[in-house]
Symmetry: C2
Subunit: 354 residues, 2 copies
DNA sequence: CGCTTGATGTGTACCGCTTTACAAGAAGCG
DNA sequence: CGCTTCTTGTAAAGCGGTACACATCAAGCG
């Protein structure tokens, strides 16, 4: 088939139909006081009958503020696809954007094309603001958006005064998690992270150590190595006397609980696992993951609100959203009596909760 | 902070810098033959130095074809979020779109706002084409895009000649799956679907019956009821003497294999499960899901190519992409010797593969 | 060598809408 | 009742490009 475009209806058609000038239509549609309520109604009726809406491109050209948010994600298809966080984020952005009449432009890029895409989208005025995710230390995008003069908000730990951040309050979260684990008798807990370059990783590392110190729990760190032959086995082997881990990524936590028994580590009998994000995946795997739910939808909403203010030229301050909530499921249990049994025959120890 | 927009550079700035007229710049940037290669180079250099890119909105206003694809998904946050297919689709669309210089506008809507959003986005010329997913029987969007004259392509079974479809070849897929199951001794297989309203569901139903008939396997159908208290238990109870199921949705298949043992059905000892989509989730759950991988990325690429032709005013025919591939994992095994044992004590039967 | 060509550019009229004057009649007022 | 002030509307100038028609000028040619 061929797309046969019926002549598109313009503001003049509406004006003619309502018996007014095009300017009147414009004023009516922009809530300007230059038109009486009665004629405004007539104009709206005419527009309705013709099914007309102001052409987005045209209004942008004539100086009307923007209505499009750019989300550029520098991830491989794979790491994007297996992070349920992004689904939640996308879904969460959609609603507040729609309320504002904005739309979301999304793309995945390779790391080395990233800046290029920001420049292009901004230069073409394809988008009017950016939402920055996966912000790294010394992230080049921060100076970039400043240089461009592009309104931007980042999700994660604040990095730079010039770009407001929407942060999920984490302080008490580590305390909560370690209280939960401490209450189960765990004394040595490790934090597992991938993506060491991300800005929020460092912030969380500090909070984790701090909370551990306060609660008398020995904390350590372990990096997830996706290049290993069997990343789960490799990680578990490195864990030493740790009896519980807090995993930054939900998908990694899920892989760990699913695969650990197969390499001789029973979860949660020998090792408790907490995921630092929550989604349907956590309740899918067995044992179900104890996870820390984050208010993703609210973060999205907050970010959009901030962005909207920036685009209007107002100032916007970084904001914190709270609502971290520990959802206790089946991957955490009392610490084994004698630690460091990871490599025993799985059948032989089945220490149950006291 | 406040966004202080540095004066934006326009085509005239570039023209001045290159010592030519604005038209020359335009021609140079649109590969028009009105400008010599040497001056074109000079112009490009000037544009580079000023970091200029043609304003997207302006070119659209002045009749330049569109560069934006609309994807409107009528799903709840939840059903969107737990379908890994969408992640693959989004990721898959991104690359071919970027190659074309297009961008993707995404939104989630409630079913009753759906048409409204199509009208709005098209009316505002915010997008230049639509990709239709989750197409239902008598889907109102098909007449709608026709009426609007909007280029559109749908993913799934062809429904209407006016809207080209990109279809994943399914014919041999059912044969392959049933061969696999038949070879394991299964004689009664059910197909489990949610979303009975989707257009491709009916098509698959027929193919399934057909393939069953050809291979002497008794086929039946079972609907997934998400409103049930325990949908998995409820489904399994309804299965009768069936020893294997083919589940239309990967996330449902995953729930089934994860939860079945907890309601007394061993997978795959008592029941084999095949998922009709594949993603990382299939290898996450235990037992790992035997799944039918679909060429999602290639479908996306094909759809984009079709769309691009439509936007250029060329005709575009429906296309089929092949590449369905059965990935055999751990959720399929030989059929139990005596069927219909679903409600036995799980410990008591552990019939192993012969 | 005069004239047709082809290669390169430039002027200019839009595209559809916003916006800043500015006009015209109604209303307020001393 | 003449003049100022609102109210309601219109005209016209852009916004940043594109595209068509036309101007140049050097080369090609009989």
């Amino acid at each position: 088939m061929t797309a046969t475009s019926p002549k598109r209806v313009t503001i003049s058609d509406v004006a003619r139909r309502a018996g007014v000038s095009p300017s009147a239509v414009s004023h009516a549609f922009n809530g300007r006081p230059n038109v009486s309520e009665t004629t405004a109604a007539r104009i709206r009726a005419a527009a309705d009958e013709l099914n007309w809406r102001p052409n987005y491109a045209s209004r942008k050209v004539s100086g009307q503020g923007g209505r499009s948010l750019g989300l550029v994600i520098a991830r491989s298809r794979d790491t994007f696809g297996r992070d349920p966080f992004f689904m939640r984020l996308l879904a969460g952005l959609t609603e507040p954007l729609a309320d504002l009449g904005w739309s979301l432009s999304l793309t995945l890029v390779q790391a080395d094309e990233e800046e290029q895409v920001y420049r292009q989208w901004w230069g073409e005025q394809r988008v009017d603001a950016f939402l920055l995710v996966d912000v790294r230390h010394d992230d080049p995008r921060l100076p970039l958006v400043e240089q461009l003069g592009a309104p931007a908000v980042l999700l994660g730990a604040p990095v730079d005064d010039a770009v407001p951040a929407v942060t999920v309050a984490d302080e008490s979260a580590f305390a909560t998690v370690l209280e939960h684990l401490g209450g189960l008798g765990h004394r040595r807990v490790a934090r597992v992270t991938d993506a060491p370059g991300l800005a929020h990783t460092r912030a969380r590392d500090q909070r984790f150590s701090h909370a551990g110190a306060q609660q008398g729990i020995a904390t350590s760190f372990a990096a997830w190595d996706p290049t290993a032959d069997d990343p789960v086995a490799e990680l578990l082997a490195r864990l030493g006397g740790v009896t519980a881990i807090v995993v930054d990524s939900e998908s990694i936590a899920a892989q760990i609980v699913a695969h650990a028994p197969e390499v001789g580590v029973q979860v949660p009998a020998q090792l408790s696992v907490v995921a630092w994000e929550d989604s349907w995946v956590s309740s899918l795997v067995r044992p179900r993951l104890t996870a820390l739910d984050a208010p993703v939808e609210e973060s999205a909403r907050t970010a959009v609100a901030l962005l909207e203010r920036l685009v209007r030229g107002e100032a916007a301050e970084s904001q914190t959203v709270s609502g971290r909530r520990l959802v206790v499921r089946d991957s955490t249990a009392p610490a084994p009596r004698s630690p460091s049994q990871h490599h025993r025959d799985p059948d032989r120890d089945s220490e149950e909760a006291p």
